[in-house]
């Protein structure tokens, strides 16, 4: 008889100083916290036995995530409330577990389904305003493509498919935006802005919101980049 598995999807937040973890470091931290939580995780068979899990779409080092996803296969059904509490008790500070739920064990992987990413970017910039910034960003998007040089290689992104929402730009006062404590710097004349947008990940490499900003603005100080949500369908067009 085939073994029955239960696929638990964990929603968590990668924030604070842990935004600096790499994808690999994050996956290892999740694996360890699942083991500490004492959940009956399934173990792969074969040469190198290990916990059966699948991380969600990678976040770049330095980018925070508010609703990140991670799947682990269990070999016994566990009451969801119990699973949530066990995971929360085993999580490091700054890696908060917010929700758990079951998904079909055979469902497609997170990296294939959850390709719509909502971002908010906090930056400081002088000599501009929200309207101007929005316009400049819109002009970049309107060009349809963007070529970025990374590690001395050029890569061209198709913006018509990658940018799936209008860009919102807001001025924020001092204090919290997306949980980052932006200290008011008396000497700093620059204003603080939050840019919000949705992007669609692509197998050939995903566009990062910073690339659009780099193309649109001459000088700015990037305060934080946060992926606020991951979804398996495009954002509602009315937003």
């Amino acid at each position: 008889m085939a073994e029955v598995f239960f696929r638990l999807r964990i929603t968590f937040e990668k924030g604070g100083s842990l935004r600096w973890l790499s994808h690999l470091e994050l996956a290892r931290a999740m694996e360890r916290l699942i083991r500490r939580a004492g959940l009956p995780y399934a173990v792969s068979q074969g040469f190198n036995t290990h916990m059966r899990f699948a991380p969600g779409p990678a976040l770049p080092v330095g980018t925070a995530g508010m609703q990140e996803l991670f799947d682990v296969w269990l070999c016994e059904y566990v009451n969801l409330r119990h699973a949530l509490e066990s995971l929360q008790g085993a999580a490091p500070r700054e890696l908060a577990i917010s929700a758990v739920g079951y998904v079909s064990p055979g469902a497609k992987g997170l990296q294939a389904t959850h390709i719509y990413e909502r971002y908010s970017v906090v930056l400081r910039a002088a000599e501009t305003n929200a309207e101007d910034m929005r316009e400049r960003l819109a002009q970049v998007v309107a060009q349809g493509e963007l070529t970025v040089r990374r590690r001395s290689k050029d890569k061209t992104y198709d913006l018509t498919s990658a940018v799936v929402s209008p860009l919102l730009v807001e001025v924020v006062a001092d204090g919290a935006a997306d949980g980052t404590n932006i200290a008011a710097d008396a000497a700093d004349a620059a204003d603080c802005y939050v840019v919000t947008l949705s992007l669609k990940a692509s197998e050939s490499g995903s566009l990062r919101p910073e690339y659009l900003l780099n193309a649109a603005l001459e000088t700015f100080e990037l305060v934080s980049v946060t992926r606020s949500a991951l979804a398996d369908e495009p954002p509602c067009p009315s937003i």
């Binding site: 600096w20 790499s22 694996e31 360890r32 500490r36 173990v43 085993a90 490091p92 710097d185 008396a186």
Partner: protein, 609 residues
């Protein structure tokens, strides 16, 4: 307190933007699971391993003392590591001083700054750390406003080259003496004692060396834990986010090794042998995995397969961990059939690679160094391992050992060729292409408190010539030959047996830019050569210096328990290629450690062997 940060910003907010500009930012993240926070404590300590996070976080001594100090009333202990060169440069540029990970406090604001003295290639990192912390390098330049700078670790057994940079150095095992030092410090603080009075009180503690107050004739005897089995295991160690060396749950199954290899400092420093019992180990592993979530447990020691209950331990752990995906690792393999049997017990389907250390190519030279293994031991261990499914094996050797001839060097190649042939024969014909053997060759560095402490390192040109002899031998194509850099061995040898005169050399090398000397890409021999010239010393002379057996030695005031007479007798036995057995198997060989240290060999089971 954090006056170098902009007003209104915490140190984290100043540091965070720098993280986008450097490699591996997770080195500087705190909040790892099991990290401890006691911001309310009135006595605050920081422990530093003088290298990067991923090297230092693996250090077991720091983990033990971290747990211990945080367990004391009203005391906290935090960790600090040396930032990598990219972060160092940014911190220097922005005026950020060395900070602890947990609370991001400047180290110089704390009460105690404990620094590991791991090996010779870390000495410049210790000066870098002190300077980055804004603490005067020299003990005699510090006052009541500075933390107490405490050293410890293997480097404590020849403290003189680093003595003037430390206020106090704890010699030997730190579990008890660290608490005594903190107790004395707290009392001194309570009565508003001067720094001098504090140092005087510290010098009274057995095992504590206070270089500024040292008097001729005083001997500091190392501290040992008598009942190691009763010493608590740290079952909730910090779980790093960044990938570190030895990224797993580690349990020290025994302390000390008395096999008596004559080049090996650890084998003399940590006597006598004391084992944890099988019950203690098995229980601690269950707890350790539950508290950390690691997927591997390492049974650590200098000679794990010598544990009197090793087979029982491995069988019980296999049973306990079966079906969990948690693996067991044995860091060192005993070079015989039993060693391979034990490795098989834990390997399961995953037979990554085995490591053996024959050290020398001929029986005569192995007898000189008291490496009590034979060619038959090696060949049968290899046969057994490769027929059991292993496909890779690494062999360690040294060149430049006392008494070595060209014949011994050529014999290394012959031995490895025979081992390689035995490996191929033991593998089914279709799988022979997978057989890999690598040999790693290091240059012998004489160390203090060993029978070879009087001997100089062979001259640089002679090392090159001997390397050429080995290179001239014919090795099978499947054998991969690797070298340790002879230039960094020169620095190790120049410092390992030096006296206080080496302090000026170390300081000049550091001022000339030497740091991270253990990192091949950072090591700069030129900085050391320039420093030697500047202070009027010669690296070669220091490294090659031969001490007469009856002359006083710069480390005579440090007593590791093993008597100088025993070391001298062992040196003489080496010269006539006579071996000495392991006392934990056959009974006392009169090294002196047990009576001097008031300790004894303690086994978990009835006997070894």
């Amino acid at each position: 307190m954090t006056h170098e940060t902009k007003p209104g910003r915490t140190l984290w907010e100043t540091v965070a933007p720098l993280l986008a500009r450097i490699e591996r930012p997770s080195r500087y993240s705190n909040h790892e699971f099991n990290a401890l926070y006691k911001p309310e404590a009135s006595y605050r300590a920081a422990l530093l391993y003088p290298d990067t996070y991923e090297i230092g976080q693996a250090n077991q001594a720091i983990g033990i003392l971290y747990d211990l100090i945080n367990g004391l009333d009203d005391c906290s202990c935090e960790r600090a590591f040396l930032p990598w060169v990219d972060m160092l440069a940014l911190m220097r540029e922005q005026g950020i001083s060395l900070f602890t990970l947990e609370s991001m406090s400047p180290v110089r604001d704390l009460d105690l700054f404990g620094i590991t003295m791991p090996h010779e290639l870390a000495v410049t990192n210790i000066l870098e750390a002190l300077d980055l912390a804004g603490i005067p390098l020299h003990a005699d330049q510090r006052d009541e406003s500075h933390p107490l700078i405490l050293g410890g670790g293997p480097g404590a057994f020849n403290p003189e080259p680093m003595a003037e940079f430390f206020d106090a150095i704890a010699v030997g095992e730190g579990e008890e003496v660290t608490c005594e030092i903190i107790d004395v410090h707290l009392r001194a603080r309570a009565r508003n004692a001067s720094r001098r009075e504090l140092l005087e009180a510290l010098a009274e503690i057995p095992g504590v060396y206070v270089p500024l107050l040292h008097e001729e004739g005083r001997v500091i005897t190392k501290r040992v834990i008598q009942d190691f089995d009763a010493c608590p295991v740290v079952t909730a160690p910090i779980v790093p986010f960044a990938e570190v060396a030895h990224d797993r749950f580690v349990i020290e199954v025994l302390r000390g090794c008395s096999r008596g290899c004559r080049f090996c400092q650890a084998g003399m420093l940590y006597r006598p042998v004391r084992e944890r019992s099988a019950d203690t180990i098995v229980k601690a592993v269950a707890r350790g995995i539950a508290c950390t979530g690691f997927d591997e447990v390492a049974l650590s020691s200098l000679s794990t397969t010598d544990h009197s209950q090793i087979e029982q331990i491995l069988r019980r752990l296999n049973h306990q961990l079966s079906g969990t995906g948690v693996g067991i690792s044995l860091p060192s393999q005993r070079l015989d059939a039993f060693g391979v049997d034990m490795a098989r017990l834990v390997a399961g389907e995953k037979k990554a690679g085995l490591t053996f250390a024959p050290e020398a190519g001929t029986q005569r030279l192995r007898d000189i160094i008291n490496k009590n293994v034979t060619e038959d031991n090696l060949i049968s261990a290899v046969q057994q391992a490769f027929s059991a499914g292993w496909r890779r094996c690494k062999l360690y050797f040294m060149i430049g050992l006392p008494g070595e001839t060209d014949e011994d060097i050529r014999a290394i190649a012959e031995l490895v060729n025979r081992a390689y042939a035995a490996a191929k024969d033991a593998v089914p014909e279709t799988k022979r292409g997978q057989v890999r053997m690598s040999m790693s060759v290091a240059v012998f560095v004489p160390k203090v408190t060993t029978p070879f402490q009087w001997v100089g390192q062979i001259a640089r040109a002679e090392i090159e010539r001997r390397i050429a002899v080995l290179r001239g031998t014919r090795l099978h194509k499947g054998i991969d030959l690797k070298w340790h850099d002879p230039a960094s061995s020169l620095i190790e040898a120049a410092l390992s047996r030096a006296g206080r005169e080496a302090a000026a050399l170390i300081e000049a090398a550091w001022r000339g830019g030497a740091r991270f000397d253990a990192w091949t890409e950072q090591f700069r021999l030129a900085a050391w050569e320039a420093a030697a010239q500047q202070v009027g010393l010669s690296l070669n002379e220091l490294a090659e210096h031969e001490y007469a057996v009856d002359e006083p030695l710069p480390w005579d005031h440090i007593d590791c328990g093993v008597s100088k007479e025993y070391l001298r007798a062992e040196y003489e036995r080496a010269l006539s290629a006579v071996t000495t057995p392991d006392c934990s198997f056959v009974g006392c060989t009169d090294c002196g450690a047990c009576p001097t240290l008031e300790a004894s060999v303690r086994l978990g089971g009835d006997s070894r062997g």
